[in-house]
Structure formats: structure tokens, C-alpha cells
């Protein structure tokens, strides 16, 4: 059994020994980006909890939620639980990931166009 050694994951080597390149961050920038990302994550997590727990919560307070029939006859509760929530999760994840990527693009590193311009 040799999983611990042979399964080599890229990037698991010790970073400090790697040669340093043109790309680098300063501690203040990284700290700022981390705090902004944390805020993004917490906001989206709150939204996620609201939706996920909201579906069962509505069954307790709103009879219509589990007795009404949507077009096919399924109750809104069943529709959400059996399929709607997955779509919500996916869209939420997509939005959160896009925002997080955008934040990282903007808060760390330089703009590409400036980086690669020649003859500056």
C-alpha cells in the first residue's frame, strides 16, 4: 500500500523551496482578498441556508405549501424538494464561484493587459 507516496498531486511540494516567479502577492493584499471572499462566502451561505431550510420550514407554517397543486398536481413543497432545490444549488454555486473568481482577479495580481504589454 503506497498511496501516501505515489499518488502525486501537483502542487503538494513545499512551496517555499520553489523558485519565485513574477507573480507574487503582498500580505496586505492577500488579507484583504481573504476578508472580502469570506464576506462573499458568508452572504451566500446565509442565502443557501435560507433557501434550504426555508423549504421544510414552510411546510410547518403554510398549508398551501404542501397541499397546493402546481400544474402537474405536485405540491410546491414536493417540486422544490425533489428537483427545484438542486437547480437553486447549482445557480447559487455558479453565482458564488463567479463572484469569488472576479474578486480574486481584481484584488490579487495585476491586470493582464498591463502585465503583458510590451514596449512600455
Amino acid at each position: 500500500m503506497d498511496a501516501g507516496r505515489e499518488r502525486s498531486y501537483p502542487g503538494t511540494t513545499e512551496r517555499p523551496n520553489e523558485p519565485t516567479f513574477d507573480e507574487y502577492d503582498t500580505p496586505a493584499e492577500v488579507d484583504a482578498a481573504a476578508r472580502t471572499l469570506r464576506r462573499v462566502a458568508l452572504v451566500y451561505f446565509a442565502l443557501f441556508l435560507l433557501v434550504t431550510l426555508g423549504v421544510p420550514a414552510l411546510t410547518l407554517v403554510l398549508d398551501w405549501w404542501s397541499s397546493g397543486g402546481l400544474a402537474g398536481g405536485l405540491s410546491p413543497n414536493f417540486v422544490m424538494a425533489a428537483g427545484g432545490l438542486y437547480i437553486v444549488f447549482f445557480l447559487l454555486a455558479l453565482a458564488a464561484a463567479a463572484l469569488a473568481n472576479a474578486v480574486e482577479d481584481r484584488m490579487l495580481g495585476g491586470p493582464e493587459a498591463l502585465d503583458e504589454d510590451d514596449g512600455g
Partner: protein
């Protein structure tokens, strides 16, 4: 305002969907009060969340113009020019009226083509004070554009600033005997009090075109020329001020940074290399940045670059703390406003203090009031009220960009709709609190 329109559309769609789901396709429908409640909850979530959802992916996709495109197709330049065109509402209107961009041969050409059928004329020409700019219609072979203004009649109109009606080929005074034109109305084009050119409308028969019609059209064209002139002036003055700013990189800063780099070159070559890269980023941004506005993200990059260089110089004495709202990153803000504020904080707040301190930049976006708030704070030496007062009134001393300069520019862009508060006490640091509306 496109963000506002989108939000309104999204809200409308949300209510429509809520109505559809709770009332139409469901049996039994949800009670009206509960539907309204559900709609309100969803609307609140949407209103609060829309900046992050909309701005996130959009700015991610656009990112920065790729350099490859710039190299090959000059896309960078085009977009730079497009950004330079300021958003004044008239300038959008202007795109349909050629002369709106000024009295040039190309604009005149498009104008005469446009005017000929409108005026029921056989030929139309526009001249400036020296030459024919455009001519369309019979006789074009010898009235070709670029030719010096020929007829005495035109010269008279340019000098007398009065409209002239000519009923015969002789009165026209065309030196070419085969010229088919035999009557004309010549009206002057004004900008302010001076005549800058003439509009000439010809017929091949001897019934001249309506004088009033031509004169009216010349009036309209004059108005457009006048607006174009004002535009250009405004743009010139604004960009002249900006260019001055851009060129105004503090020589002390450059000197100090180069010193820092030189001192590291032997002991920490890698760090020196990184600092050099930063310095080049700094200059590239300050010289290549075009236009009045930029994404906050870009300005933030500029500030980061600046502060990284200053941190290298001051070492432990300068701490930096950024606190940036995710939504704010994609908002357009006026260029070269934040960095000077930060530079002031370093230069006046901390550089003189022995123990150093922290410069913090906080940026928030209020989605409901659509206001961007930028707070630059230092916990350095601060100022007494008198110094504070004079800082507001005078331009920065040599090499710095003063608060007054920033204030003037903001006023130019936003009128009364921005706010800049300054708070400072001796030994308690300085805070600049800037609030600017969404463009």
C-alpha cells in the same frame, strides 16, 4: 442607469413569476396577502443581492482588454477612445447628426448627402472659410472638395454673414462655362458670433431654392457646430487637467523608491526585482490609463501597487489594511482620486510620525442608494483645524495632488451629487470620507 433599468426589469419579472406560481398554475391559489409577503421577501433578497450577481460574472468575463487584441487590431485604442467620449446626454444624440462632431470634410460629406433630398436641391455644398469641404450633385467635376472657395458670392456671404439668393448662372460666377448650375442659396454657418463656413444649395433651373428653408437648415447646422465646439472644449479642459495629474507623479516618490530598490538589489535581489516590477506597473497604469472613469478594481490595483512600494520603503512603520466590498470592485469611479488620497495619508499622516501607523482603505457600495463610499484613514499625526482648512483650500504642494484639485474634478463630474468629508485631529490621524454616486 443601465443597472437600475435591469433591476427594475428583474423585479418586474420576479413579481410576474411569483404571481404565476402562486396564483395561476396552482390549485388552490395562495392567499393574496401571503403572495404579497412572498413577493416582498423575494424582492428584498433580489435588491440586496443583485449587485453581486450582476457585477460578479460580468466583470469576470470582460476583465481587462486582452493585450493580443490590442497588438493586432488596435482594439485597445478604439476602446480607449470610446471611453474618452464622455457620457453627456447630448453626445449620444450627436451620433445621428454628422456635423455634431465638428466641421470636418468627412462630416460635411455625410451632411450634404443627407441634406440634398431634404431640401429638394440638385446640388449641395458646404465650405469652411477657405475651401469647399463637400459637394454633391451635378457639377461635382469642377466643384470638387478641397478646392479653394471660388465665387465672389460665397466670399461675400462669409464676410457679410448674410444669406444670399442667386437667380442666374452669371450671379453664381462659376468660372467653368459648362457648369449646369444656374441658381443657388448661400447661407452662413455660425459658431457664436463668427462665421465658420457656408451652406450652399443649388438648382439647375433658375428658380432658386427657398431661402427660409436653407437659412433654417443653416441655423440648425450652426447649433450643432456650436455644441460640438463646447464638447471639445469641455473635454479638452478635463483631459488637460487629467494629463497634468498623470504627469505629476511625485518625483520624491520615484526617488525614494529607486533608492529602496537599489538598497535591496544586493541583499535581497528577488525582492528588488519584484519592486521593480511593481514600479513599472505603477508607471504603466498612471500613463496608460485613459479617460475620466475606471473600474474601482483598476484603481484599487493602482493603490495596491503604490502602497506595496511605500511599504518596502517604510518597512514595519507602514501597515496597510484594505477592506473592500465585493460589489464595489466593478463600480466605475473617477480615475486618480483614491491613490492621491492614500498618498496624502502616507505622506502627511505617517511619514512624519516616528512610530509609523496604519493606512486603511475601506470601500463600500450601497445598492439601494447606489452610492459608492470610499474611506481613507490613517492613524498618524493628524492636523489641527487651521491646517485642515488650508489643505482644503490650496492645491497640494509641489508634486502632490491636493484635495482641492480632487474636489474640483469631482464637482465637474458629479455637480452637487458627491460628498467629501474630512476629519482630523492632531495625533489622532486623518479620515477622508468620500461618497460618489453610481455613474
Amino acid at each position: 442607469m443601465r443597472g437600475g433599468g435591469l433591476l427594475a426589469a428583474a423585479l418586474a419579472a420576479l413579481w410576474g413569476l411569483t404571481y404565476l406560481v402562486t396564483q395561476v398554475i396552482v390549485q388552490p391559489p395562495l392567499a393574496a396577502g401571503r403572495m404579497v409577503l412572498a413577493g416582498l421577501v423575494l424582492s428584498t433578497v433580489l435588491t440586496l443581492g443583485y449587485p453581486s450577481v450582476l457585477r460578479g460574472p460580468r466583470m469576470y468575463r470582460r476583465r481587462w482588454p486582452p493585450s493580443r487584441a490590442r497588438r493586432v487590431g488596435q482594439v485597445g485604442q478604439t476602446s480607449g477612445a470610446a471611453r474618452r467620449a464622455e457620457p453627456a446626454p447630448i453626445s449620444i444624440m450627436g451620433s445621428s447628426m454628422p456635423l455634431r462632431s465638428g466641421l470636418t470634410a468627412e462630416a460635411a460629406n455625410r451632411t450634404v448627402t443627407l441634406l440634398r433630398p431634404m431640401l429638394g436641391a440638385d446640388a449641395v455644398a458646404i465650405t469652411d472659410r477657405q475651401q469647399v469641404l463637400a459637394f454633391v450633385g451635378p457639377g461635382r467635376d469642377h466643384h470638387h472638395p478641397g478646392k479653394a472657395t471660388i465665387t465672389a458670392a460665397t466670399r461675400k456671404v462669409l464676410e457679410g454673414a448674410r444669406t444670399k439668393v442667386l437667380h442666374s448662372a452669371g450671379a453664381l460666377g462659376c468660372p467653368e462655362p459648362s457648369c449646369p448650375l444656374s441658381s443657388a442659396v448661400i447661407a452662413p454657418l455660425h459658431v457664436g458670433d463668427s462665421v465658420v463656413g457656408a451652406l450652399k444649395v443649388y438648382r439647375v433651373d433658375e428658380t432658386a431654392p427657398s431661402r427660409d428653408l436653407v437659412q433654417g437648415m443653416a441655423g440648425i447646422l450652426s447649433l450643432h457646430l456650436e455644441l460640438a465646439d463646447m464638447d471639445r472644449e469641455r473635454r479638452l479642459s478635463a483631459s488637460a487637467r487629467l494629463d497634468a495629474l498623470r504627469a505629476q507623479i511625485n518625483p520624491h516618490f520615484l526617488f525614494n523608491t529607486l533608492n529602496t530598490i537599489a538598497s535591496r538589489a544586493r541583499t535581497h535581489p528577488e525582492e528588488a526585482r519584484q519592486l521593480l516590477l511593481r514600479l513599472s506597473d505603477f508607471f504603466r497604469y498612471s500613463t496608460r490609463q485613459q479617460g475620466q472613469f475606471a473600474d474601482f478594481g483598476q484603481e484599487y490595483f493602482f493603490v495596491r501597487t503604490y502602497l506595496a512600494l511605500e511599504q518596502a520603503r517604510f518597512g514595519e512603520r507602514l501597515a496597510v489594511r484594505y477592506d473592500v466590498d465585493p460589489q464595489v470592485l466593478g463600480v466605475q469611479i473617477p480615475v486618480l482620486v483614491v491613490q492621491p488620497l492614500v498618498e496624502n495619508a502616507v505622506k502627511h499622516g505617517l511619514a512624519q510620525s516616528v512610530k509609523g501607523g496604519t493606512v486603511s482603505l475601506k470601500a463600500r457600495f450601497d445598492p439601494l442608494r447606489r452610492v459608492t463610499r470610499i474611506v481613507v484613514r490613517d492613524d498618524g499625526v493628524g492636523m489641527d483645524p487651521a491646517t485642515l482648512e488650508s489643505a482644503l483650500r490650496h492645491d497640494g504642494e509641489m508634486g502632490g495632488i491636493g484635495l482641492r484639485n480632487i474636489g474640483e474634478r469631482l464637482e465637474n463630474l458629479f455637480g452637487e451629487r458627491y460628498r467629501m468629508d474630512l476629519r482630523s485631529r492632531p495625533d489622532d490621524g486623518t479620515t477622508v470620507d468620500l461618497r460618489i454616486p453610481l455613474r
